[in-house]
């Protein structure tokens, strides 16, 4: 216990490498998310491309040292363009036995593992389900192991800091971070600065954590436990101002931006649910921007509030996850019938039912498309990366307002929590969202269901406008007046109009981009958060000489009009999805193409390797 097996060797200058995948793993109480986030920010600021994958426990506070209590954070940082957090880590930091137990299987063959030996007590080993101590029984034989009594080393370093022992132990993650900063030649500055901001009112904590960080760094330098340090150069990424952003935050910021672009106050109403709650949290900080967040009594109420706010002329949006979307279905249909603009954000998680609330999945696509009674077309769009949540939020409002239709924004748990460097868009390129409410001047000719010729949108006449008094509701409406109409032909016409209005949204799309050759053997079609894994795999396959192109769909309803043609130019079609084949159903039905699915529901994103293997298989089997 606690013995320091360090293999000292002379230190060389940093070795240059293309990129590294690191995973920090420890107990929930060990601050792994924070450590990972700090390393990510520092790497991003250093100019690397990064991609992250947090993986935290379902429990609030699982018992210390237990398997369900393990919290992990994976980071891929690189000097080249990367699009995923990496399949298998090159380096694992295991702060306790449970973390080693659950994370070791993912480590690269011959990968490096840094272990906090202090945590490998008999009690912790038992909690982790080890009968033998893995440090001694050959379990780690195939890996490069660095065993360090991190808890004690940190305690030693903090001896002079006036804090109780338990608190001291809390900074050991910063000690480990310091160690890794040395290993990857990172500056300590950003983290030191962050600590000062974070604990502004609490100098003792600044001191403790800074000291730990510096001590870890110094230890790496002095002890020479590492043969050399490594350097990951700046990535050749586009010049600009960058910001690290996670998916939920990007959507929230996008909503605020939409409010600015539309010059309209925004109402966000939501009922908390994992993994969507953060959007509510973020937006509640924007009161000064005339953004009203309303925590409703349930998901139905949240949707009702959104419909009411939209009727009254505000940008209105709700956010939820799968089970909440199911509850909103009936109310969403009211927005469909009354043709009121609104945005419904759904952060997908593993289902069915409560399922695996903290795990990712793409299995709400069919629910989004078809999960309502009657013929009920709504627009559906999905971001490809965390940062794209920003663009999608703006586009969702743009579509909603332009076509007077509810728009579903489908993100997922992987995007929600994962982050990437986001190059800030040039604000002058962000087009305003045009909103027009008929005024009293339009009163004489006001017909609530008359339609814009181009978009088929009905006028957004709002309460408070003299002369425009009118009544809407969930019963079938007359094609012009919006009054209740039970006539057979009117119902057919309105059904057709609602569909046609949706279809015309596609008139506004840019042509679909095909990554790779515009025709060939295999077309891979994906949507949502699997973008990175698919694109990386497709590019890898192309480098290997395979004829693979990739189309990523942001627009799922209506589909782009050129998609059929593109599909027609390939011999085979592959649709990888984190569900059992939902987009497959849509595309097979629509284009009668014998698309093959690569389907996985394990609560985890695709590994590049999995997608690549499938491409390989399909092309070899031709």
């Amino acid at each position: 216990m606690g013995k320091t097996k360090t293999r000292k060797r002379p230190v060389e200058t940093p070795k240059e490498i293309e990129g590294v995948v690191i995973r920090f793993a420890g107990d929930s109480g060990d601050g792994m998310q924070l450590t990972g986030t700090q390393f990510s920010s520092t790497s991003a600021i250093a100019g690397n491309d990064i991609s992250t994958l947090p993986d935290f426990p379902a429990e609030i506070r699982a018992p210390a040292g237990s398997l369900p209590g393990v919290s992990a954070f994976q980071l891929n940082f690189s000097s080249v363009d990367i699009m995923t957090p990496g399949d298998e880590p090159d380096l694992l930091v295991a702060m306790n036995p449970a973390a080693l137990m659950t994370n070791l299987p993912d480590l690269q063959p011959a990968g490096r593992v840094i272990i906090n030996t202090d945590a490998f007590t008999a009690g912790n080993l038992k909690k982790a389900g080890y009968t033998e101590n893995p440090l001694n029984d050959g379990t780690l034989g195939n890996y490069q192991v660095i065993e360090l009594p991190i808890t004690s080393l940190n305690a030693q370093a903090l001896e002079s800091v006036d804090l109780p022992k338990k608190q001291v132990s809390r900074s050991k993650n910063f000690w480990a971070l310091g160690l890794l900063y040395w290993l990857f030649d990172r500056s300590l500055e950003p983290t030191l600065r962050w600590l000062e901001g974070k604990f502004a009112g609490n100098p003792i904590l600044i001191e403790a954590n800074s000291t730990a960080l510096l001590a870890g760094h110094a230890y790496a330098e002095a002890s020479e436990i590492f043969a050399s340090s490594f350097k990951v150069r700046e990535a050749a990424i586009e010049p600009g101002t960058y910001r690290k952003i996670a998916g939920n935050e990007a959507i929230a910021v996008g909503c605020v931006a939409a409010s600015i672009l539309a010059k309209r106050p925004l109402v966000y109403s939501s009922y908390p649910i994992t993994p969507a709650s953060e959007i509510l949290h973020y937006l509640s900080h924007y009161r000064h921007m005339d953004i009203r967040t309303v925590q409703a009594e349930d998901e139905i109420a949240a949707m009702g509030i959104v419909i009411g706010a939209s009727f009254a002329g505000k940008l209105a949006v709700t956010g939820t996850s799968g089970p909440g979307l199911a509850l909103k279905a009936e109310a969403i249909n009211l927005a469909v019938m009354t043709e009121l603009p609104c945005v419904i954000i759904n952060i997908q998680r593993a289902g069915p039912s409560t399922g695996l609330p903290t795990k990712t999945e793409q299995s709400d696509l069919l629910q989004a498309l078809y999960g309502r009674n009657g013929e009920s077309p709504v627009a559906v769009i999905a971001p490809a990366t965390p940062a794209e949540g920003f663009d999608c939020a703006i586009e969702a409002f743009r579509i909603a307002v332009r076509h007077m239709i509810p728009v579903m924004l489908l993100s997922d748990g992987y995007l929600a929590n994962g982050s990437e460097p986001w190059r800030l868009p040039d604000v002058s390129c962000l087009e305003p969202i045009e909103v027009r409410h008929p005024s009293s001047d339009d009163a004489e000719e006001f017909l609530p269901y008359a339609r814009d010729e181009k978009t088929l949108a009905r006028p957004w006449g709002i309460p408070g406008t003299a002369g425009l008094e009118h009544r809407i509701g969930g019963l079938e409406k007359d094609v012009l007046t919006g009054n209740v109409n039970y006539e057979p032909k009117n119902h057919q016409r309105m059904t057709d109009l609602r569909q046609e209005k949706l279809d015309r949204i596609a008139d506004f799309y840019d042509p679909t981009e095909v990554d790779g050759e515009p025709e060939g053997e295999l077309l891979v079609i994906g949507w949502g958060g699997t973008f990175g894994a698919i694109r990386t795999a497709a590019r890898r396959a192309r480098k290997e000489g395979l004829s693979v192109s990739h189309v990523h769909l942001r627009h799922l309803h209506p589909l782009p009009k050129d998609l059929g043609d593109i599909i027609g130019r390939f011999k085979k079609v592959l649709i990888p999805e984190l569900n059992m084949g939902q987009l497959s159903i849509v595309l097979r039905a629509r284009y009668l193409v014998d698309a093959v699915g690569l389907n996985k529901v394990e609560g985890q994103p695709f590994k590049v390797r999995e997608v690549h293997a499938k491409m390989d298989e399909m092309l070899r089997s031709k």
Binding site: G47, R243, I245, P265, I300, G304, I307, P463, G467, R471
Partner: protein
């Protein structure tokens, strides 16, 4: 050329009659309520275009179609949520919810409670006919135990809910009761609700002559009502009976009906106080025939800030502390770095 409506013209009842044919059964109590609302609202000094009537689903919920104002006939039970959204979005609007006993208390019970507890400034008119009208006669949450209906041929085994108790327990700031046929009193109560700033809840006993005819006749019929109905008036003694000879006293924590002719000093009689703690109102609300007379009028009227006002205050406060970000500032609000 269209003509501009003058801000607050002298509106009349006719201004609030829409062009839609009223489609309730002949004889339905809903007509009287519609008529009283159409009579009251022009007098409020609010421009017509500021009225929004929101309803759920049910016979009563057809109400908005008949009001020449903004209207939203929503879905079953959810009207309070949509009204909440409207009011939050535009606090200047006068927002009304029209609902039935099933709409408000069966499927919509939770939204009702939450709209009330938030003290949203919306006026909720619950047309209580103690039956499901639109779906043709099943019992409702206010139907009496043992009620025989289409869905309960042997009688219902559900104890009824008491709408006023629920409203009071939900911390509603204005709670009242009225009767469709007592039109003058009904109009007064509606007007009081309209002028109240905050959530106002009125239970209106409404006759459904098709599926639950005469449901309230045992106390509201002309020949019995003097002794079976008591009208509450603020700061007045609560009195009823043909000559107002009866009143109430508290005796061992229980409400007791007393008769001044029995030598009870008038000074002992309870005086109605709309502003008192909720439980006095609760006590009065729960009086039921035959043990007690049925109370109508305003049970409770207290003032506290509304949800939408508190929310607006936060917006103001936030703006005082921090100017709205420009789009550029918004984007740069995280930790940023420059490349190239």
């Amino acid at each position: 050329m269209s003509t501009r409506p003058i801000p607050t013209p002298a509106l009349t009842k006719k201004d609030f009659v829409s062009d839609q044919e009223v489609r309730w059964c002949p004889g339905c109590g809903d007509y009287a309520i519609l008529s009283q609302v159409q009579k009251v609202v022009p007098a409020l000094g609010i421009p017509k275009e500021k009225f929004v009537f929101v309803s759920g689903i049910g016979c009563s919920s057809r109400f908005p179609y008949y009001m020449n104002a903004y209207g939203f006939h929503t879905i079953h039970g959810r009207a309070p949520t949509i009204a909440t959204g409207i009011k939050i979005a535009n606090p200047e609007l006068s927002v009304w919810v029209v609902t039935g006993d099933g709409d408000a208390l069966s499927i919509g019970g939770n939204h009702l409670i939450h709209a009330l507890r938030r003290n949203m400034d919306i006026k909720i008119l619950l047309f209580n006919n103690r039956i499901y009208g639109l779906t043709k006669g099943q019992y409702s949450p206010t139907s009496e135990l043992g009620k025989r209906t289409k869905s309960t041929p042997m009688g219902s085994v559900d104890y009824p809910l008491h709408p006023l108790s629920i409203a009071l327990a939900s911390e509603a700031t204005f709670v009242a009761r009225a009767i469709d046929t007592e039109t003058k009193h009904l109009a007064e109560v509606i007007e009081r609700a309209a002028r109240h700033k905050g959530s106002a809840f009125i239970e209106i006993f409404q006759n459904c002559n098709i599926f639950n005819d005469k449901a309230f006749d045992n106390f509201k019929a002309r020949d019995v009502r003097a002794n079976r109905i008591v009208r509450l008036e603020h700061e007045k003694q609560i009195r009823f009976g043909a000559d107002g000879e009866k009143g109430f006293r508290i005796n061992h924590c229980e409400l007791e009906v007393v008769d001044v002719n029995d030598g009870i000093p008038e000074s002992e009689l309870i005086v109605h106080d709309e502003h008192s703690r909720a439980f006095v109102a609760y006590m009065l609300a729960r009086m039921d025939y035959p043990d007690f007379p049925v109370a109508i009028g305003v049970l409770r009227d207290v003032t506290k800030p509304t949800y939408e006002a508190l929310l607006d205050d936060q917006v103001m406060e936030a703006r005082k502390m921090r100017k709205p970000d420009t789009l550029q500032a918004l984007l740069e609000s995280g930790e940023t770095w420059k490349v190239g």
